[in-house]
């Protein structure tokens, strides 16, 4: 299996040492992503989705530690066993990343052109001239008008949406096989969000890239991914092909999350389905199913952590008492 997958993560566990104790932010996550596919990871704040991708990208702070059983395979190769110079040209050119806040991710005192050209000069050993020419092409590809003039501008001269386009241009500059986008549109307005997501999907399809899209928004994954994994309190609780997941939500958290999302077709003043309480404290997580304290459908077995089992058709689930029938849409929703 690891021979084919572009990225395979096996049993990944990341802990943080904090003054309050050890926090297990990612707890035994496994998944594989094929070339040309888009995987969405959905979760609320604190679910561990950003720590997961930062572990893959080797961008963890000093107080973090990754367990020894954790394995990340890139194109069948165990990243831990790679030679240093091989790793040096892995993160950035082969696996590239876009961050949530395009203002803080860009260097405010360097020209746009230099920021796009730098990785190409470093990783691909292009000349300054080649890299800047390519930067102009990239800006045109990500939909920025008058790219030659933009190369000489600074980030503050651009709008939030434009800056995110520049981030994408930097990320695809070395023609990566895998692009990780961590909440790429959370800081943007809906109209700009739609433009950026459409652009990412177009680039992913044109270049046959793998895309790992991290988001808290079920609407975003529904429209822009092939496969979805739902994360809660550090673990995957459900994953399935996007169509299957939305038709057949097994996990009680997944369906509760969808039903608490306000819908543009809802009848005004209908009550939203809310999930009681809040995500658990990961210093002292609940001993059994981590969602059990907030779940309306607990059974005796929920005192024991549920196994993450296959329920068919690439659909996996960690729940003792899953939804058996199709999830009823909120009564208020009209189409």
């Amino acid at each position: 299996m690891s021979g084919n997958a572009l990225l395979e993560v096996r049993d990944l566990t990341t802990r943080f040492d904090t003054p309050k104790g050890s926090v297990c932010a990612v707890n035994g996550v496994s998944f594989a992503l094929e070339r040309g596919a888009a995987l969405g990871i959905v979760g609320e704040s604190g679910s561990g989705k950003s720590v997961l991708v930062r572990t893959i990208m080797n961008l963890l702070p000093e107080n973090a530690s990754v367990s020894t059983e954790s394995r990340v395979f890139y194109d069948g190769c165990d990243v831990a066993t790679m030679a240093p110079e091989e790793k040096q040209h892995l993160w950035g050119p082969r696996i590239s990343m876009i961050f949530q806040d395009p203002m803080t991710a860009l260097n405010p005192v360097r020209k746009i052109g230099a920021q796009i050209a730098d990785p190409q000069r470093y990783h691909l050993h292009r000349t300054k001239r080649q890299a800047w020419d390519n930067a102009a092409d990239l800006l045109a590809q990500v939909g920025i008008s008058d790219p030659r003039r933009r190369l000489d501008q600074y980030p503050h001269e651009l709008s939030g949406g434009m800056r995110q386009r520049v981030m994408i241009a930097i990320a695809i500059g070395c023609e990566p096989d895998l692009l990780i986008a961590d909440e790429p549109t959370t800081a943007l307005d809906v109209t700009v969000q739609r433009q950026i997501l459409d652009l990412l999907t177009e680039i992913q399809r044109d270049r046959d890239m793998g895309l790992l899209l991290i988001t808290h928004d079920l609407g975003v994954v529904a429209q822009h991914t092939d496969h979805v994994a739902v994360m809660y309190a550090g673990s995957f609780v459900e994953s399935a092909p996007t169509g299957t997941l939305f038709r057949n939500m097994g996990h009680r958290y997944t369906s509760a999350l969808l039903r608490s999302t306000p819908h543009a077709g809802a009848v005004p003043h209908t009550r939203l389905h809310s999930i009681a309480g809040r995500p658990p404290d990961l210093v002292n997580p609940p001993s059994g199913c981590r969602f059990a304290p907030r779940c309306e459908h607990t059974v005796r077995d929920c005192r024991v952590p549920p196994a993450y089992l296959s329920v068919g058709d690439a659909h996996r689930l960690a729940c003792h008492n899953p939804n058996t029938t199709q999830v009823p849409r909120d009564e208020g929703i009209v189409r």
Binding site: E44, S45, S159, G160, G161, M162, D189, V190, T191, V192, Q193, R194, Q195, L197, D198, H216, D217, L218, G219, V220, A222, Q223, H224, T242, G243, F246, A256, L257, L258, S260, T261, P262, H263, A264, A266, V267, P268, H269, T270, R271, L272, H273, S274, I275, A276, R278, P279, R335
Partner: protein
């Protein structure tokens, strides 16, 4: 301004009447940014008016101008018949008892060094109102906080959702008639957002509140609003009852906003091509209709003449030369 001055006996059910509101900010030495460029609207007693638009459209500035924070540079804001723009600071203070606010960042809007009980009681303490403890108790229970267990703790001990409950309790303690909610759930996670939205809806019924609900999230606005106002670059595009406005938008901008929403259903394919361009700078807005640079229906006429709000019937108003049919 003078015309609205004379015709200003508000109809019985209008609690807030905003007319030709203008807010200008100085930017640089001689530039003036008109964040809100002459808008008029009413808020009726007992309703929720949703205000939506992209960042920079002036929706938060409008909300703050109602509260006189800062005072608008032009136009009138009549609250229950009194023009707030003409009041002295002392007079304005007394109005604030009846006109409260909930802000976007629940943690930043609470004093980190004060106990929850004192934060909720602050307004009451300023007014020296009797039965303060009882009112604080009531307000905290109303928002789902246990006064005995939480009253003596500090805001830093609470999550974002709980802090927003504290902000709501603080606003509620004075038993206001109107609360201005400026992006009250935007900083919260989906599951917590639903709790706060439901809470605001319950409190509105229970206390007979009138709400102005500012948000960039159209789905949330649809749930909480009775009427909706769509803003773009400091102007009003469209005002109307929520269901009609969402299901049958008349302004091309409203249509574009709705089409851009990601639908949480992979079987629903997104509308056509998606939004065009970005919002121009508010420092140098386009002539005529401000939306014309992104509008597929725009003609030369739109560049010359600014469209004025036109009544369409059914309580709907649209500012467009070529409204959608």
């Amino acid at each position: 301004m003078t015309t609205t001055e004379t015709s200003a006996t508000p109809t019985a059910d209008v609690l807030l009447e905003v007319s030709e509101l203008e807010v200008e900010f100085r930017s640089g030495r001689s530039d003036v940014t008109r964040a809100v460029a002459g808008i008029s609207f009413d808020v009726r007693r007992g309703e929720t008016l949703g205000i939506v638009g992209e960042s920079g459209c002036g929706k938060s500035t409008t909300a703050r101008a109602i509260l006189q924070l800062p005072r608008p540079t032009g136009g009138t804001v009549r609250f229950d018949g009194r023009d707030l723009t003409k009041l002295s600071d002392a007079e304005m203070r007394s109005v604030r008892r009846r006109l409260q606010v909930i802000l976007q960042d629940p943690i930043a809007s609470l004093n980190p060094r004060r106990k929850v009980r004192d934060i909720v009681a602050e307004g009451l303490a300023i007014w020296g109102l009797a039965d303060r403890d009882e009112r604080v108790h009531r307000a905290m229970e109303a928002v789902g906080l246990d006064p005995d267990a939480t009253g003596d703790r500090l805001p830093s001990e609470f999550s974002g959702g709980q802090c927003q409950r504290i902000s709501i309790a603080r606003a509620l303690a004075l038993e206001p008639e109107m609360i201005i909610c400026d992006e009250p759930v935007s900083a919260l996670d989906v599951s917590v957002q639903a709790q706060i939205v439901n809470l605001l809806e319950d409190l509105k019924d229970q206390y007979g509140l009138t709400l102005v609900f500012v948000s960039h999230d159209l789905s949330v606005v649809r749930i909480v609003s009775d009427r909706v106002m769509v803003m773009y670059l400091g102007k009003v595009c469209e005002i109307g009852p929520v269901t009609e406005l969402f299901d049958d938008p008349k302004h091309p901008y409203t249509r574009m906003l709705l089409d851009a929403l990601p639908v949480p259903d992979p079987d629903v394919k997104p509308e056509s091509a998606g939004p065009v361009g970005e919002m121009p700078s508010v420092i140098s807005p386009p002539t005529g209709c401000r939306y014309r640079t992104r509008c597929v229906r725009a003609t030369a006429y739109c560049a010359e003449v600014e469209p004025l709000p036109t009544e369409l019937g059914g309580d709907r108003y649209v500012s467009c030369h070529f409204p959608l049919s």
